[in-house]
Amino acid sequence: MTNHIPVLIITLPLIAAFLQPVTGFAGFKLRNLVIITILLVLNGLLFMLVPDVALQGKTIYYTMGASDPSQFTQPGISFPVRIVLKIDSFSLFTGIIVGVVTLTTFLFSTGTVKEDKRKSYFSTLFLLFTAGLMGMSFTNDLFNFFVFLEISSISGAALVAYRTYRKHAPYAGYKYILISTIATTFFLFGVGICYAQYGSFNIQYINSVLAHSYLDKVAMLFIIVAMAMKAGSVPMHMWVPDTYAEAPASISAMLKASGMVTLCAMFRFTFSLFGPSSSGAGKINYETLGWIVIVLGVLSMFIGVTMALIQHDVRRLMAFHAVSQTGYMLLGVGVGIAVFAKGDGGAAFKAFGKMAMVGGIFHIMNNAFYKNLLFLTSGVMERRFGTRNLNGMIGLGHRDTLTTVVFMIGALAIAGIPPFNGFDSKLLIYESVYKFSPVLAIIAMFVSVMTLASFMKVFYSSFMGPRRDDLIVEGAPLTKGTKAGLIILAALIILTGLFPGIIVDGIIEPAVTALTQIR
């Protein structure tokens, strides 16, 4: 049983998704209970893997359909022939993010997304989205990755356009699927170039025989730029505010998680697929690649935050912050990439490069939590006032104490104020990036200040001020599930912020080690 965990993690939401029309007949409450149970089991399975994988550094393989699934290659064949799932510390880290985000988001959406009893479009698509993201985290096969990417894109686009009665929602879904299709087409083209030369889709096998020819570099370019586009980094970010603003609040959070997973996949391709291999003849210039990532990151940070400052649509504002926070991760990991293969025998990488990567990867996790929380609270605001415009909101703090408190926690965390988790990862990024280039660290700090300023704007205009009951269109109190989702996320933010050492040593640092391992 235990050696089938990797495939169970992917197939459980997939099976549950297609069971939805059946369980839909049993009623709304029972169906939600089933889904919550499945997501809890999913999280349990993920955390069961933590002691083996993260703490002891094992790598679990799962070969689909083989007689002994835990072997990477089958007896008698020197290369892998089937679809192989691989769980090392990094993919486990990605999986944990997806698990936590889906659980809390679904808890939130039980109270907010209205659905007919017999129809199960939302929950079906939601579980398909989960399955796609889980598959993207764990697969070791390029074409399989493409399939999961398409699953998540199609279900994501359908969810973005879920409220088809709204004027702009279908067009936002169209934008998302258009971007996804462009990105996946180029991704598949890059995969084809890899396959043409090495005759395999297995990431680890391709890496072990990689020759770093010009064609490989073209393939790397297509794959990495396509992934950066899906993750929403400047200058390929214009779809982010348009899409996130029109989606339901819980789906914005899921799209953010999807962006994080894509970003993790991009880093994984940088190191595990195109990284230095034992047979490598002409190597990729890692410094240039790192600078490309750093430039994308700095542009994302700056343009994202300055555009966020002038928005008065709360969801567009938060979407621009999503772009801006993506910049931090790109900056941290980009510094790590830039010094990764420097000529000094890895001295710079040991001194601050690894720290920068730890900061960037840690920021992915923190960002997934607090950005999720902020999107969910924006959903509450939108429900209360019936508009996304901040000019039409005032005085919510008198009504919803819980929402106010969790919004404050999220806003302080995103701005990097000490006891919350944004502070820890941002501090790691500042300190290590300062040793690489002081200017970049100063830009990062400036962006952090602007982040605080724009969240002050949201807090001032929507929560402060006199109580105005005449503006409230829906005054029903939050359901238990909604509250539970918000509280879990806020608790995670505070706990991660107070005890960063446990998370960093237990999950993040093994993940970075697994990522930068040279075979």
Binding site: I182, L221, F222, M236, D242, I292, A453
Partner: protein, 119 residues
């Protein structure tokens, strides 16, 4: 490597100590102090039912919509960076063609790097 990375945050040699439980304890102590003693300590003339909770704005007689609109916040900053924001707003007008255009531009720039032997 255990415990090494996080030494950034905990630096006993220069006197910065990160004791999270102390932070929590201080937070709760302050909460208790404000709750028990705070109302009396800060304002003892506070009365919810009088006119004093109403906002006072001189010369503005509109008592309902008196607050500063969020689109007017930071107007000085916006004004001084007007030229930058005009360009940026033009980029973010939701034009589908721009999305693919910038993707092609980034790919082309990276191709130039490959052709120049830099990547």
């Amino acid at each position: 490597m255990n415990g090494k990375i996080i030494d950034l945050i905990i630096k006993p040699e220069i006197g910065i100590v990160w004791i999270p439980l102390l932070l929590v304890a201080v937070f709760f102590v302050f909460m208790v102090v404000f709750h028990v003693w705070g109302r009396k300590f800060f304002r003892n003339d506070y009365n919810e039912n009088s006119d004093q909770v109403k906002p006072y704005n001189s010369g503005n007689l509109d008592e309902v919509n008196y607050s500063v609109k969020s689109s007017n916040l930071y107007w000085g900053f916006k004004k001084s960076m007007d030229r930058y924001f005009d360009i940026m707003k033009k980029f973010h007008d939701g034009d589908l063609n721009n999305y693919a255009k910038w993707f092609v531009i980034v790919v082309a720039a990276c191709f130039l790097l490959i052709g120049g032997g830099l990547l």
